[in-house]
Subunit: 265 residues, 4 copies
Amino acid sequence: GGEPVLFSGPCAVESLDICLEIGEQVKAFAQKNGFGFVFKASFDKANRTSGGSFRGIGFDRSLEVLQTVGNTLKVPLVTDVHESYQLEAVAEVVDVIQIPAFLCRQTDLLLAAGKTGKAIKIKRGQFMAPEDMQYAVDKIRSTGNQQVCLTERGFSLGYHNLVVDMRALPIMRQFAPVVFDVTHSVQQPGGNQGSSGGQRQMAPYLARAAGAAGVDGFFIETHPDPSKALSDGPNMVPLAEMDGFLAMLKKAWDLGREFQNYQLT
Amino acid sequence: GGEPVLFSGPCAVESLDICLEIGEQVKAFAQKNGFGFVFKASFDKANRTSGGSFRGIGFDRSLEVLQTVGNTLKVPLVTDVHESYQLEAVAEVVDVIQIPAFLCRQTDLLLAAGKTGKAIKIKRGQFMAPEDMQYAVDKIRSTGNQQVCLTERGFSLGYHNLVVDMRALPIMRQFAPVVFDVTHSVQQPGGNQGSSGGQRQMAPYLARAAGAAGVDGFFIETHPDPSKALSDGPNMVPLAEMDGFLAMLKKAWDLGREFQNYQLT
Amino acid sequence: GGEPVLFSGPCAVESLDICLEIGEQVKAFAQKNGFGFVFKASFDKANRTSGGSFRGIGFDRSLEVLQTVGNTLKVPLVTDVHESYQLEAVAEVVDVIQIPAFLCRQTDLLLAAGKTGKAIKIKRGQFMAPEDMQYAVDKIRSTGNQQVCLTERGFSLGYHNLVVDMRALPIMRQFAPVVFDVTHSVQQPGGNQGSSGGQRQMAPYLARAAGAAGVDGFFIETHPDPSKALSDGPNMVPLAEMDGFLAMLKKAWDLGREFQNYQLT
Amino acid sequence: GGEPVLFSGPCAVESLDICLEIGEQVKAFAQKNGFGFVFKASFDKANRTSGGSFRGIGFDRSLEVLQTVGNTLKVPLVTDVHESYQLEAVAEVVDVIQIPAFLCRQTDLLLAAGKTGKAIKIKRGQFMAPEDMQYAVDKIRSTGNQQVCLTERGFSLGYHNLVVDMRALPIMRQFAPVVFDVTHSVQQPGGNQGSSGGQRQMAPYLARAAGAAGVDGFFIETHPDPSKALSDGPNMVPLAEMDGFLAMLKKAWDLGREFQNYQLT
């Protein structure tokens, strides 16, 4: 469409109150700055480094919260799934189903997701060459579902470090729309003694770079107090700064869009 | 124990006949060369690059074949699981449950696997620092199950290439016994137009190196005719060459064992 | 200053005629689009993959050509050096001395370059962490020379592939001004049977991304017919497209500059 | 030949006394354990991360020390060069000239080294694909000098980390004999606040692995008190442990040699 899509929310469904607080504000910031908006929160942090980390408030309760947020704020919803059995219940509530990066090659999960008829958002595996994401897209399309997009969040350079190769954006846009994940791209996996660290200070640079290179949307996790967020706090954008961040981001996206057909011969 | 463990078989449960043929020969080669033996075959190739690739002969039929192989040859069995719902049926048939590398951080799958009471074999994610595999081991042990080992199969250097960092072996042996996966370490992910290529010619070098560095076992896929194997053929050891390969490998393992406590001050 | 600096020219000093042709046109394009301009050409391609590749037209002759270009077009000059003995003659002709990426840790070369009093432009080694470039800058400054800038051109992901980590730009700008090398960032080292290949089609994406992230200048090699350039042709911007490329680049740089002090708390 | 070659000594020519002490002992250990021996010390640490680090005791004085060591102990000598002008004086003293990893693509230095007629030992650049080292070998051979060997010391995984890909050993042995550098393979570049750190504890694992994979020699730096060595102390083998280390290494090399012609079909 004519504007970029913002997927945003807290990382996890922490509570209804905090989801409504975040969703309401981000929705307003998105509208003001020219972004479409999809509310995001995870019902389960299913792949934490350590088994002792926060997981969530429960599957059923999380879906209830998501549904209430969607109904109250009149916004579409996205959440991620981890095993096929979750898809039926999730598809009743959300508009976009996200496939986590680690799971982007799980054929059954992709096929089952595709068959729900919901839009599917697949994160590039930290171990996947960008051009190989074509096969993940094909798995969704083989179900007759044409609503599929990809997400870039950096590839693993082994060892507690992720690098974003901006070449991945135009490569993957050959297959499907591409969302740039501002938050997980500045994650430092396992770099914080059993939980993942992050480099929030790098988010503006990578976000502007990705926008200018050209993408179709952005994924940003936010929280009123990231230091108290139950996961991914070190790499979130603070809620109070989202308005300014989006204003900046929109200018970068406009630049990328102006030159989206520019090519050297 | 006093001898290395060999996990070996065809990549996939192609048919009962071929499983029996391979299992019988490899069992004999293992005994002759001083290896313990666990028969391996996958009931489902659940994460193929492309959706069009061979998946398997079906869940129930595959488990029947595995059980027949175990009973006929009197050998323990290992297979891999992909979603939690598979665990109950799988645990009734096999002795060792393998967690695929992509799934090594799926907490639910690890916990459910641990709770079966079976031995659990976790492959290091291509995106995981070796020291972070401690958390995966801890997830299994948190269920009261102490039978857990790790497997090294190379880390992703992005982009159709895996590299084995031999430092991962002693790092991971601090947490649990470690198996070296000869076959997948020489895989070239997605490097073959939608299926994974491989470098069989590198297998002897990496296998000797890993054995000499020190490990507790080896994982080797084999087939009477790798060019006809339904997956991972390019990186398999041909069945007719397994005897000689194991003889070589045993010498490398003996060297690693002789110096397993050697350290510089 | 108030405008970005463009370092540009053919890769090598091929002939006086071609240097004048390129220099005159690029100078005009730079002025038109709001860039400062420094003419670049190498007197020697000293580190070609293969010994059989084109090296140059000779040290003395190349310096004569450079001097003529500088005098004729009234533009400052940059060229790269490879051993200390070259510095005296080179410093008499050029305004900026470039230290090649492979040589960025050669202390003697850096000190001797610093002592010439000329501005020094150091390329980040493909093997150097961005934060460690501080030590290279310090070596120059230890000679009393404060005119030093750094250049980003991607780091080695082993094996015929370079990746630009955009985080390197803000990290290195803490120490010195930073130039983004559009041409060598899309090089594929050794990927072309003994000479280096390239991905010109990726240049616009990386150039926009780097400009938007924020840099102080750009390095772009160009040629009227890149397919006939004596080195690095596959990754050059064709001369006839430089005007449009710079117009795009200026917009990206303007964006980066607008937000150069933007930070998340 | 029939035995592996050991290149060993202190990292730098610290003093005549320490060179004689180390050289005498290592020569004895080498003979006892079945290694050929070449004494190594650098006259200049020309590429330290930081300009403030120890460089050496001077070019002329270092060469005098080396010559005295060679004459006194009756051992061949190896040292590394950094610029072409050093080659004439160095070639009068040493038997083997080492090209540093950062300089392995400097054509002039390689050609000038080749023309001395001395044996040339080229370290693989941390940024070079193993197969591209063929071109470095070809540059030496183009001078008519057939005495050339390569050295593996890990490739850069960016960012304060080196990884040894054991596949590099058989790949490079297709072109020339290969030496495994035990000391620099466990270096952590720039990982120690302006000087390089190291992981001595990993040396035995990598050394055994490389020996078992198959190489023609080893490079090991040693010192009576590594904590006082003027460079690379954290990754050296202590002199008092060299005898035991070589005994272990010889067994690994014997294994690699036994299977040097082993291949899968």
